[in-house]
Subunit: 344 residues, 2 copies
């Protein structure tokens, strides 16, 4: 990405092992994330540009000398953050805050919208998908596995941190791919009622297929009132906020029940927000969430996908070759596509 609206596909040198804990992974599928659209709107023009992408499934090509848990030929899911998975913070289940971990598409580690990727901390990061040959696997299976790199497990993290459970009423704010994933995850965790706030019918239809029991298209004060009306005036036990903009935050504290939880996974495009007596404190509302520690949930989720219990890959509605990544950004930004998969 060379600036707002300016995505170019270029030729980079193949990545190489730089530390004994690295692995090189050959891309099977990558994709564009809703969070990639934030710089797509705001990045200052740059001649050098910035590599992009943080979602990947692929095949291990090469491993550093210290890597023991994966070997060349393994088909793996790459979580959107790397981590050692052994430190106290990782053992707590917060791998996105691992002091030895980090993120892709940064000055240190190139992005994953590429044919090959260098994965630091390979032992702590990569998880093998057993008994699947990506060369012959069907597209729907690959799509669902790819969502475990970020989008589905980000929705799952929202629901997990929000303590969604049987009997709970959940409101999901946002009908993007993360919001729809949050609906599917809330259903997995047994939510009794799931109100999806979104205004794009094709998306909310998928939300209903994923388990939403109600859809509210209105936004702002009107949308808040509709959710309150649907919940006997009390609001939702749990609100899953999957947007990251202030109006979504404001809707969240408007619809949450006293003593309830707002769980955010939309990357906040603000630093300060209301948390005082008039928003969170007076109602004893809990605010939680953050970058999803995908790694913590990955083995279980791979099993669910392989057994056919969940089909989160349905959020992909367009597939493009990596060469056409720029068109993928444009289509998602224009809301012509919900989520774009990229293939080599």
């Amino acid at each position: 990405m060379h600036g707002a609206g300016d995505v170019r596909v270029g030729q980079a040198a193949d990545p190489t092992i730089q530390a004994p804990t690295d692995a090189i992974v050959r891309t099977v599928r990558a994709c564009v994330c809703g969070s990639d659209l934030h710089p797509y709107h705001s990045m200052p023009a740059s001649e050098h540009g910035q590599s992009m992408g943080h979602e990947l499934i692929g095949v291990v090509e090469e491993t550093g000398s210290a890597v023991t848990s994966v070997r060349p030929g393994d088909f793996v899911v790459v979580p959107f953050a790397y981590s050692d998975n052994t430190c106290p913070i990782c053992r707590d289940g917060f791998q996105t805050a691992c002091p030895h971990g980090g993120f892709y598409a940064t000055p240190d580690v190139p992005g994953l919208q590429a044919e090959y990727a260098r994965i630091p901390q390979a032992d702590g990061t990569l998880v093998v998908v057993p008994d699947v040959d990506p060369a012959t696997a069907d597209d729907a299976l690959l799509a669902s596995l790819l969502t475990l790199s970020d989008v589905y497990l980000t929705g799952y993290h929202a629901a997990f941190m929000g303590k969604v459970a049987p009997g709970k009423t959940v409101t999901v704010v946002g009908d993007g791919a993360v919001g729809l994933s949050a609906v599917l995850a809330a259903r997995q965790l047994g939510a009794e009622r799931i109100v999806l706030m979104g205004r794009h019918t094709d998306r909310t239809d998928l939300g209903r297929a994923f388990g939403a029991t109600d859809v509210v298209a209105a936004r702002g004060a009107e949308g808040v009132q509709e959710v309150l009306d649907l919940t006997g005036g009390e609001g939702a036990h749990v609100v899953l906020e999957a947007v990251g903009h202030m109006p979504a935050y404001e809707q969240s504290y408007g619809v949450v029940r006293a003593g309830g939880v707002i769980s955010r996974v939309g990357v906040p495009q603000y630093e300060d927000a209301p948390v005082g007596f008039g928003s969170l404190f007076g109602k004893n509302v809990t605010l939680t969430g953050g970058p999803a520690p995908v790694r913590a949930y990955l083995e279980d989720a791979i099993g669910q996908v392989l057994r056919g219990e969940i089909d989160p890959g349905r959020v992909f509605d367009r597939v493009l070759p990596l060469d056409e990544a720029a068109e993928g950004y444009r289509a998602m930004d224009a809301r012509e596509a919900l989520k774009v998969m990229l293939r080599p």
Copy 2:
């Protein structure tokens, strides 16, 4: 209170039953709250003034025709908010958000720094202290029972919402009466380590007696660094924020561990605060807390006090007659007294 720094004791008409669910309670002990100091600093001058106080133990004098759970002569603890204790929000344990409840010292219901008080929703609000005659009970017992009206159970609420448990490292921000109560509550809930951030040695000494294992006097970035140093660089699992001012909030997110919890019970003197990637979100920090639903915890806590398991009344270090309430405010504001008890 007639304005900032202007507290006057006046003669008001005795309260009377206004609804069949009311009770009239004769004061045994009342007190001044740290939160009463906020208007003491900022209230605009007013000729009419505002009655004050929300903490009380007393004897039921009279009950409305619908009241069945208390009768004249009962010795009761009065929670700082009244509630019906039967609605879905109360059943969830968030009585301070009861839609039929409310607060004292408001236009509707006079404050409790008085000889007699009208208590709305008496059945849902008042809890009887069994087998204690307040006329002959010793002062230490009365002091501890009085803390159950607000201050101790506010500290307890912080610890409860923060999920303090065995093995957890807890940091308490603030050495006022609520902060010290939070230390005692954290110890009750089994915290392994309790770091008290406070700079008044007489107060932090009581904090040590209540269970603090470490005291950090430094504030701001220096205080944050000291807590990080004490916790192997990782920070505290749980931070109990018992002040309500922005510097305490900033200290809280500075010392909290990734994936940890900040539980606030200091009434926020701000509405907006940092919650974005650089403060809460990036570390997956949970923010919780609010006005303590004292009613939810009252029966258990009365039992603990009566059995001598906790002695939260040690936060009172001065007793004044109600007539000298103004001196009580002055002494607390000047930090000459930690917490002032008022007696008829």
